[in-house]
Subunit: 425 residues, 2 copies
Amino acid sequence: MAAREGSSSAAGKIAVVASVAVNLAWLATYIHRRYFGGNYGRSDGGEIATVEPSKGKPPVTEHSVVNLDHGDPTLYVEFWRGTGDRATIVIPGWQTMSYFSDLVGFCWFVEPTFEREVRRLHRLVGNAVVDGYHLLVGTGSTQLFQAALYALSPAQDGSPMSVVSPAPYYSSYPSVTNFLNSALYRWDGDANFFGGDTCIELVCSPNNPDGAIRKPVIKSESRKTIHDFAYYWPQYTPITEAGDHDIMLFTVSKCTGHAGTRLGWALVKDVEVAQKMVKFMELNTIGVSKDSQLRAAKIIKVVCDGYELSPPSEANRLFHFGQRKMKERWSRLRATVAASDIFSLPNEISGYCNFVKENVTSNPPFAWLRCHKDGVEDFEGFLREHKILTRGGPKFGVDEKVVRVSMLDTDEAFNMFMNRVASLK
Amino acid sequence: MAAREGSSSAAGKIAVVASVAVNLAWLATYIHRRYFGGNYGRSDGGEIATVEPSKGKPPVTEHSVVNLDHGDPTLYVEFWRGTGDRATIVIPGWQTMSYFSDLVGFCWFVEPTFEREVRRLHRLVGNAVVDGYHLLVGTGSTQLFQAALYALSPAQDGSPMSVVSPAPYYSSYPSVTNFLNSALYRWDGDANFFGGDTCIELVCSPNNPDGAIRKPVIKSESRKTIHDFAYYWPQYTPITEAGDHDIMLFTVSKCTGHAGTRLGWALVKDVEVAQKMVKFMELNTIGVSKDSQLRAAKIIKVVCDGYELSPPSEANRLFHFGQRKMKERWSRLRATVAASDIFSLPNEISGYCNFVKENVTSNPPFAWLRCHKDGVEDFEGFLREHKILTRGGPKFGVDEKVVRVSMLDTDEAFNMFMNRVASLK
C-alpha cells in the first residue's frame, strides 16, 4: 500500500512538475514571441508571422541631418507603445475582401465601426458637431480636400472655381489644386488679395504653418468654404467650440499620429455635396482601404475608451499625453528663442478649453520661426547648412526669412534641433 | 510515512488535476476566442478585441436581386478561410506611424516587404519581367492608372493627350480619364476609330469585359501604352509570356481577391515616368496605406509559400483553386448558353500556360453575354427585370444587346444567376 502510494505519489509529482513546466515553457515562449519576436501563438502549434514593417526615417545621430520638413508625427509612438496590446489590430486573411462596406448606409465604402468610433470621438472631444452630418472616409484628408473641390466646382457659369486661402497657407494647397490642370477649379492665391466674389476659401484652423485661429476672410455670399481641421485637437489648441461648418476635414495623422495609415474623414452638411464627394472617391480610388479603416477604428476606440472607461492616468489619455509633450517642447523652444537675438515666434495664444475644462495655451504642431539675422535672406537654406531641414516661407506664400519647423518628430530629433538652434548666433 | 505519502499524493493529484484543468480551460477559452469571438489572448490576462468588420454584400436569397454588376471577387473568400491563420496580419498600435517607408529605395512610400513579395510573385508566375523595373504601389490600380496618365501627359505640343482603347473597353476608362476635366489628357474613345498619331492606348489583356487577349492597335511611333494586367493571372488565362511593356498595372483585387484592401502596383520601365507617377501619388494621397501594404505583403507571401514551401494541395495553391472554380463555373455557363436559343458567348480561347505547364482554356473573370431574343433591345434592363444586375454594352462603348456579368461572386450568387438564366426563353 505504502509502496503503491509512494509510486503513485512519485508519478503525481512528476506530472505536477511536467504540467507546470509545460505551462512555464508556453508562457516563456508566448512572452518572447509577443514582446520580442513579433509573432503570435497559434492553436495548432504554428505561428502567425508578422511581415517586417518599415521603421520610418533613420534615427538622428550627432552628425546626421535633422529632417523637420514634414510633420511626421512620430512623437506619438511613445504613447502607443505604452498601450501594449490594446490598440493591436488582427485581420484574418478572409476578412473584408469585398469592395463593399455598407450598402444600407450613406456611403458604401465606409466601415460602420469606423464611422461609429469617429462620431464617438467628436462627441468626447467636442470639436465638431456630428448630428445631421454625413461622414465620408478618405485616403488621408488630402484626398478628401480634392473630393471637396470636385463637389463644389465649377462656378455656376461653368468657369473654373477660384480656390484661395490667406497667406501663410498650407504649402500643398496650390500644388494639389493645380497639378491636374483641371478646368473645374484653379488656385487663385492669397485670399487677402482676391478680387472676385465666387470662390472656395480654405480655412485651416489652427493654421498650418503658423498656428493662427482662423475664420473665413472672404465676405461674399457666393464664397464657399472647406474647413481644414487637421489640427483642431486638444493637444494643439483649446477646444473653444464644436465646429458646425459646411465641410470639415480631419485626419488620424495629426490626431493620433498614424500618418502611415493614410486615413482622413470629412463631415459634410449638404447631402448633394456629400454625394459628389463619394463620386470623386469612387472614380479616384474606388473607396478606401478597409484595413486602414479598421485599424483607425481600433485606434480611435482606444482613445475614447482611455477617457470613458479607464482610470485617468496619462498612459490612457492620448490628448493629455500630447498636450504635455507639446507644452514641454514649446517651453524649451520659446526659452531658446527668447535668449537669442536673431529668432522670433508668433505670440502665444491661450483660451478656455471645453475639453480639459481649464485655460490652456496653444501648442501648435509647427513652429513658424522667423530669422532677423543680418545677411540671412534664405532662412531655409541657412538652416540646411546647419543640417536642419525645414520648409521655407515662399512655399506658404510669404517671404524667405521665415520657416516652418515640425514640432511632432521624435524626442531625439527635437533635442538635436534644439541643440543646433541654440548654437546659432 | 504512509500517511504523509498519502497526504502528499492527494495534494499531488489535486495539483495535477488543477494544472490540467487550468490548461484545458485556457485552451477552451483560446479556441473560443480565436474561432468564435474574434478575440486574441493577451499575456496580461486581457484581450485584443478585434473591431467588427463589414461583411460585404448581403447574402443572396431566392427572392433577392443578384448583383453581378461589379467584379466583387468574393469567390476567393473560400480559399482564404482554408488558410486558417497563415494569412492573418497583426499590427500593433505603434507600428508604421511615420509617413515614410523606404528612404533609400526608389519610392519612399513603398513598404520594402511588399515590394519583395510582389517581385517574388511575378518570378513565380512568370507573367511579368521585374528585373530592371521600378515598382510603385497605389490605392488600387485605378489610382496608378491616373498616375500613369499624369506621367505621360500632356502631348509634346502641350495639348491634351488623347486616351484611347478599342471597344469594348473597361467602362471606367472614360469616366476616370475625364472626371476632373484635366487639360493634360482627355478620353478620345474607341482606338479603332482614332484618327491621330499621338495618344495613350490602354491595353487591357485579358480584356475587361470580353476576355480577349490584346496587343496595341495604334501603330504610330508617338503612341504610348499602359498595359492593364489586372487579369493576367493563371486562374483566368494561360500565362504565355512574361510581359515586358513600358507600364504594367496589377491589383490584389483580382489576383488574390482582396478588393477591400485597395492595393495595386505598377511596374514601370522608364525612371522619369516612374518619378512622375510617384509625384502624382504624393499629391493625390501622400502615399498609400501601410496597413494595406503589409496585409497584401502577407497575403502574397502566403500565395508564394503555398507553391514554393508547401505540399502541392489545392488548399495551398491559390491559382489552382481559382482555376478549378472558374472552370467549373464556365462549364456550367457554356452548357446553359449552348442549350438556350437566345444567348451567346465569345468563343473559348486556349493555350499553353508556362505556369501550370499544360494547355488550358481561358476562364475570363467576366462573361460577355449577348442576347439574340426578338424584342429585347436593352439586355441589361431585361435582366434587371429578372432580378439580375449586370453592366450593359453602352458603358463599354458597344451596343445594348450585350452585358458584362461578374464570374467572381459567391457560389450562392452564381448559382442563383445560373438558375435564373436557365429559365429565360
